[in-house]
Amino acid sequence: MTAALHASALAVPGRLQPIALDLGPGELVAMVGPNGAGKSTLIQALAGLLPAHGLVHWNGQPLSRIAIAERGRQLAWVGQEAQFEFAFPVREVVAQGRYAWGDDLTGVPEALAELDLTHLADRPVTRLSGGERHRVGLARALATGAPIQLWDEPVAQLDVRHALEVMRLARRLSNNGSTVVVSLHDLRAAYRFDRVLVLDQGRLVGNGKPHDVLTAPLIREVFRVEATFVESLVPELP
């Protein structure tokens, strides 16, 4: 089967050492690593948003051969920053996800509902809290209907419930065949993904199933913390 997302010798000078990667359709992938490890850089390079060396393929096609509008239909990217300078209503920002589809509004109400934004749909994005703005960014990515979703720290600013909902959404998308890559800091959350990528100082130092990759020695090496496996409070959606 062709990889949904393939990278070979993908590098960004000074920020990312050459990386090879193959992510399959329907894979739910967590990306972890300390601050400055290169998570955002790798995500942007995979999304074709950054000048980078090496090769990237989406669904078997080299990125350089995919027209920019077509890229908007194939891959959605959500950045860490959700700073909106102009007071567009939430609904219109989410509808921007349909730009590459000629601005039809397919899936926009569903995306709003999915991120719990329906009641905020008419509010200007400038009047939302940081967490709410992040949800708007996610809803816009969802509205694209793109089968590859790259989310850069989507839950860092969300409350417990919305964070869990975003994780569940990621799982559901992957169950429906999408490739979803999520960068995060919560190693416990990463443990529930199909695959974990660990980045450290611009290098990919771990790539595999969570229990194979997120071992105590690697966590000690990369994050310089001691990890023990114990039972603890785990919030769940009802």
């Binding site: 942007q44 999304a47 948003l49 920019i68 509008a69 077509e70 890229r71 908007g72 239909r73 891959l75 959605a76 990217w77 959500v78 950045g79 920053e81 700073q83 909106f84 300078e85 102009f86 007071a87 567009f88 209503p89 219109e92 920002v93 921007q96 996800g97 730009y99 590459a100 601005d103 994005v125 400038t126 960014g137 816009r140 694209t144």
Partner: protein
């Protein structure tokens, strides 16, 4: 306000200010006289006044206002900053320096400053130089402070160049007066020559901008996200910067520095009708034209040296301060 009312409202105001521009002045004409002068009236004086003086002046005013309004919207989307505008960023000053250089150096070096195209061309060159410097000083998505401080520095630098040219030509009264005209902006004695110099090109640039509104919506909320959603950001940025600079330069070439139009007009319209650029662009063109014609009417009502650039600054300066104080 509902966007539905915007177009009829703005068009009505435009027609009103345009007709008023033809009617008011030293010789006060009635509406009937204006219509007569435009059609086949027999009143020779009214005909001359309207056709040879007021009509070109009003047309230039309309085009300059539309150009500056559109240019403001574009720069705000481009820099993702609602406080960006051609005047504050120094693009107008660049255009003025170009024009002033032609005026000042033309007689000295003996090239034809009076040529129809030398002035707008120099203005375009000056404006592009200024835009280039803004782009270097304040990178994409620049914060308000950095952007405005670059503008302050650039305006000071270009202003110094203009002042230098002003003092070196101090002996040539004629040249000096022309330079002063450019610095304070105005529509006085604008002739059909100025109409041909600026209006067609402004019209073309405005028409080229209109289809870019949707992509500007996406760009205004972030360059990378726009790119990821399918906007060709590099191409769009190039189109926007070229068109907005050309518009500012042409406006400056035919009417001198007229500040604050590109700041005030888009802001008011955004507050009234929302930030959607597909609407905001044409509205700002109409609104800019209305604002400029109205300010020009003020200069005619108080004829004692109240220049157009002074009137727009009297309105725009306090408005800008209010914007800075307003909580976002």
């Amino acid at each position: 306000m509902k966007p539905r009312v915007a177009v009829p409202l703005l068009l009505a105001l435009l027609v009103l200010t345009f007709l008023a521009s033809l009617a008011f002045g030293e010789l006060r004409l009635s509406f009937g006289q204006v219509v007569g002068a435009l059609t086949n009236g027999t009143d020779e004086v009214a005909r001359t006044v309207v056709r040879d003086f007021r009509l070109p002046r009003a047309l230039v005013g309309l085009a300059v206002g539309a150009a500056l309004g559109a240019s403001g919207v574009v720069m705000q989307a481009f820099f993702r900053n609602p406080l960006a505008s051609p005047g504050l960023l120094g693009v107008s000053s660049g255009g003025a320096l170009g024009a002033v250089a032609v005026l000042a150096l033309g007689p000295i070096f003996g090239f034809a400053a009076a040529t129809l195209w030398a002035l707008p061309l120099a203005s375009v060159v000056g404006a592009f130089a200024a835009t280039g410097m803004v782009l270097m000083l304040a990178q994409r998505g620049a914060g308000t402070e950095r952007l405005l401080l670059s503008g302050v520095a650039l305006n000071a630098l270009l202003g110094a160049g203009t002042s230098f040219l002003l003092t070196t030509t101090a002996g040539h009264f004629e040249v000096n007066a022309q330079i002063l005209f450019w610095l304070m902006g105005g529509l006085e004695s604008r002739s059909w020559e100025h109409v041909w110099m600026g209006v067609p090109a402004i019209l073309v640039a405005c028409l080229l901008l209109l289809p870019l509104g949707r992509a500007m919506d996406l760009l205004s909320l972030g360059e990378q996200s726009a790119q990821s959603l399918g906007v060709d950001v590099r191409r769009l940025r190039r189109q926007l910067i070229v068109l907005s600079t050309v518009l500012t330069a042409l406006a400056t070439a035919v009417a001198g520095i007229v500040g604050f139009v590109g700041l005030v007009v888009p802001h008011v319209l955004r507050l009234a009708f929302g930030p959607d650029h597909r609407r905001l662009l044409p509205y700002s063109m109409l609104g800019g034209a209305i604002f400029l014609l109205a300010c020009d009417l003020v200069t005619r009502t108080f004829p004692l040296g109240l220049r157009l650039g002074v009137v727009t600054a009297i309105i725009g300066g306090p408005f800008f301060l209010w914007l800075l104080r307003r909580p976002r």
